[in-house]
């Protein structure tokens, strides 16, 4: 289990807690005896069952939320440091709190007024009942109180942390705390251990109703003890669990046990409530003790059970869950006036609650999701809430765009051979070879047959093991599947499912990769759409190569190995493949291309490596390759003795070929001047800029 997985799971838990809040608020108008004013309206079809369900949800939803918030808080703190932490929290918590309140409070008030008017008539608004004097610090935080408390708890948490770090220099205290946390989570003690302090705070409350649970501190800026302690414990535990991330595994292992405990403790809550209305005050005495304890244990058992379930079943990334998780913050922030408005609107409808409640949820979610998708996700609001903006339309998975997304702009090597020697029996295929492919470049590997080009690719793919040296693919061993998923390969002379059509082959290939290209995208990129319904075995050799190229792109590769890709292609198809390769390079894909077609390397490559006799005999840009030979090629008709010329500075070799003297030199200009000085009759002088073909021929000849 890796950290990334846990984050996905906990993202899901956080979204669940927030969306549960939405469902909870949607149920409030259906709770029997709900006073209008406390909530916007009381529906004409109340439901005890829905009330009980809402009570159970309310038992744990905020505890769960704050627990996850604590975990993510430490994650953020350690990723960004204290400055980064606070700037992030200011943007993600403080700004939504202030801006949200300015917009939401009037909206909520308007809905409440509508509800009161609908219940008591317009005259109730003209003659409101006298209000008790507001206590010190009174402020209508609305449902945004959780943001305010998050900020308070962050301050408290970091203050405690600073004190602990300063006082506990040898770490003994932290180790002891870690041990206690581990001990309690490696069993079922945590729910009891955490539930007791919650119960103590609740027990001491003056006005405490069964339904209320941990009181919602939405009407006062002064921190309320029970809420602060109850949710503070949750944030603290989340923080401490992040100190020992393997504890999530312990929670995961015990999810069934926690669930059983949660069910038992919830049953105990209902048992303590028997004979009392849900909204009534909790009487003093045994009932209060029992209910407070059962509530505390149930609250934490549910929180741990749900976290365990998420780690067990939702650890993998899912686009849908990711979308829901991203949207859940907005949905929760904005939901209250919308949900309450639908409740008020439907309150007097002559329908059963089992029809109205889903309708309230459905209508509210439709508006909220539409507003999120259109107004939040693609705008600066989305950047504030989700940390990034998403384009309104998800980029069509064009091969170009998709591959560009894979690309990393860093110039780190994506494939390396370091001092690699590979032998097949007595044959040395590669001899102490160093090769490096940088991100976003096309490396052309040239060489005669048997030079070791395909062996190099086999090593990079983990299909061959080096006898000596190191092979790295994207910074690690090439045999690791995670790396292989980021690679596309087009090998030489392979055969595929002969009876399959091209589209079927591409579909099959795509099914081997997560997030693959669709057959249409692969065909569009490789200009093979016309071959879609053709049977593979009936394609020409060149068409098969084109299809193999499309197959190599199916997995959206970051690194592409093309082993002589244009063999057998006609000029038009070759140009099309070159264009596609240039597209890939432009979008950051790294390509290793082995080829005999030197003009291919000349047309496409950023760098060229020449392999011959198992060794790298030259490496550099195309121009550098050319220049190697350009310095050497001087041909002329002269009487100057070849042996004499051979002794001149800068001359590598000098051969006589009939009347012609063929000189190989490092500095062509100087040698030509000296030749002209030595022989005024010199004629038919040629000093040519060599093509890569000549460079290759010269180099491999020399190596031989």
């Amino acid at each position: 289990m890796n950290t990334e997985n846990r984050v996905h799971a906990l993202d899901a838990v956080r979204a669940f807690a927030l969306l549960l809040g939405l469902a909870f608020h949607a149920a409030l108008s259906f709770i029997p005896g709900m006073p209008v004013g406390v909530w916007a309206i009381a529906d004409n079809s109340p439901s005890p069952a829905l009330a009980n369900a809402a009570f159970v949800a309310h038992l744990f939803r905020m505890t769960l939320f704050f627990f996850i918030a604590g975990y993510f808080a430490r994650l953020l703190f350690h990723r960004r440091g204290i400055g980064g932490f606070w700037s992030n929290r200011a943007l993600r918590i403080l700004v939504p709190l202030i801006v949200g309140w300015v917009i939401l409070f009037p909206s909520i008030s308007a809905v409440w007024i509508w509800g009161i008017a609908k219940t008591f008539g317009p005259q109730a608004l003209a003659n409101p009942p006298p209000r008790p004097p507001a206590p010190f610090g009174a402020f209508p935080l609305t449902h945004l109180w959780f943001l305010y408390y998050l900020l308070l708890l962050y301050v408290a948490l970091l203050a405690v942390r600073s004190i602990v770090v300063a006082a506990d220099r040898n770490g003994h205290v932290r180790a002891a705390v870690d041990k206690v946390v581990r001990g309690s989570l490696n069993g079922y003690w945590a729910a009891l251990f955490l539930g007791v302090p919650v119960a103590l705070c609740l027990y001491d409350l003056k006005w405490w109703s069964f339904f209320q649970g941990i009181p919602t501190p939405d009407s006062n800026l002064i921190p309320q003890l029970a809420s602060f302690v109850g949710y503070g414990i949750a944030v603290m535990l989340g923080w401490l669990v992040h100190r020992q991330p393997d504890l999530l595994g312990s929670i995961q292992k015990r999810w069934i046990g926690h669930l059983v405990l949660a069910a038992a403790a919830t049953a105990a809550c209902f048992w303590a409530m028997r004979g009392h209305p849900l909204l009534s005050l909790v009487p003093q005495g045994t009932t209060r003790i029992t209910f407070a304890l059962a509530f505390g244990v149930a609250s934490w058992s549910w929180a741990l059970a749900i976290t365990g379930v998420a780690v067990q079943f939702f650890a993998q990334e899912s686009r849908v869950r990711r979308y829901v998780a991203d949207s859940s913050y907005w949905l929760y922030l904005a939901h209250l006036p919308i949900v309450a408005a639908f409740q008020v609107w439907m309150a007097k409808w002559p329908l059963h609650w089992s029809v109205k409640y889903p309708l309230v949820l459905l209508f509210s979610l439709a508006i909220l999701l539409a507003s999120y998708h259109l107004l939040v996700r693609p705008t600066f609001i989305g950047k504030v809430l989700n940390g990034r903006k998403y384009p309104l339309r998800a980029p069509r998975k064009t091969p170009e765009g998709a591959i560009a997304l894979c690309a990393d702009s860093t110039k780190m090597p994506v494939a390396e051979l370091r001092g690699v020697t590979k032998r097949f029996g007595k044959v040395v295929a590669l001899d102490n070879v160093d090769l490096q492919v940088n991100r976003g470049e096309l490396l052309a590997v040239l060489g005669p047959n048997g030079a070791g080009k395909t062996t190099a690719i086999g090593l990079w793919l983990g299909l061959l093991a080096p006898d000596q040296g190191t092979v790295a693919l994207m910074g690690g061993p090439p045999s690791e599947i995670e790396r292989r998923r980021r690679v596309g390969v087009m090998m030489q002379e392979v055969e595929l499912g002969r009876e399959l059509r091209v589209r079927e082959l591409l579909e099959l290939m795509g099914s081997y990769y997560p997030n693959s290209l669709t057959p249409e995208q692969a065909m569009e990129l490789t200009r093979t759409t016309a071959l879609a319904s053709r049977t593979y075995s009936k394609l020409s050799g060149g068409q098969k190569r084109q299809v193999q190229f499309a197959l190599a792109l199916c997995g959206r590769p970051e690194v592409l190995f093309l082993d002589e890709p244009t063999v057998g292609l006609d000029v038009q198809s070759r140009e099309a493949m070159w264009a596609a390769i240039r597209d890939l390079i432009a979008r950051g894909c790294s390509i290793v291309l082995t080829t005999h077609y030197l003009e291919e390397a000349e047309a496409l490559a950023d760098r060229v490596v020449v392999l011959a006799r198992s060794r790298v005999i030259a490496a550099g840009s195309v121009d550098e390759m050319r220049s190697i030979v350009a310095r050497r090629q001087i041909v002329c008709e002269t009487t100057v003795d070849a042996e004499v010329v051979r002794g001149w500075p800068g001359v590598v070799d000098s051969q006589r070929d009939g009347h012609r003297l063929r000189v190989t030199a490092f500095d062509a200009e100087a040698v030509v001047r000296r030749l002209l000085d030595a022989d005024h009759q010199l004629k038919n002088l040629e000093v040519r800029q060599a093509g890569l073909a000549e460079a290759f021929t010269e180099l491999t000849k020399e190596a031989a």
């Binding site: 995961q252 780690v311 299909l463 061959l464 599947i481 292989r484 090998m491 392979v494 399959l500 290939m509």
Partner: protein, 230 residues
Amino acid sequence: MSDPNDTITRALVLRLMAKDMYLNRQTMVAALIGGILSLILAGTNRLGYSIGSVSFITTMMAYGVVLAMYSIAQERKDRSGLFVLSLPIAPSDYIRAKLFGTTLTFFIPWSILSAGAVLLIAITPLPDGLMPMTVLLLVYFLCTFSIMAAVALFVNSDGKTTLAIIATNMSLTFFMFGIARIPGLGGSLDQQSTPTWSGAFFAVLAGELALIAIALTAPLYLHQHKKDFI
């Protein structure tokens, strides 16, 4: 919590197995048709039984050979195995997919035809005493196929694969004659109206099953110690 990589690899192995079965679907159907026609023929009369039995044995053996040759050896020859190895899959997983995919491709028609053969003996006037020999023969088909598949998967030479195929095919004759001479299996037992499930039967059956187990696990074990896959 399962490793997501393992989940994806498992899914990939299953897809490769499904691909093998899909690509061999026509061979499977042909084997089934051939086997069923042979069984029908074997149920008609004495002559039909003789022709049908030979035809049934030929069908089963030929089916195993075709699978080993075309699904494994030919794949290596035309380098489509190399293409699969270029997928995001470990070579050992590829071997696993290939071995189990091909075995399943053989196993499905084999199990249907084996059930048919047993049923034929049970419901027709053919003596039920034939049952033990028939069962051993049917399991032997699975055994020879497993050996052929294992050899084809492990060796890189067409010659050695062909040799293994010839050897396993020839071994059938020796097997049939061999078990017919084992007390408790052969003799006139196959002419009796009730089958005799002797200790010899179970010993031979255990030997066959052990061979199958070895054949199906050996390539996996040997490939774990292999360094190069192309």
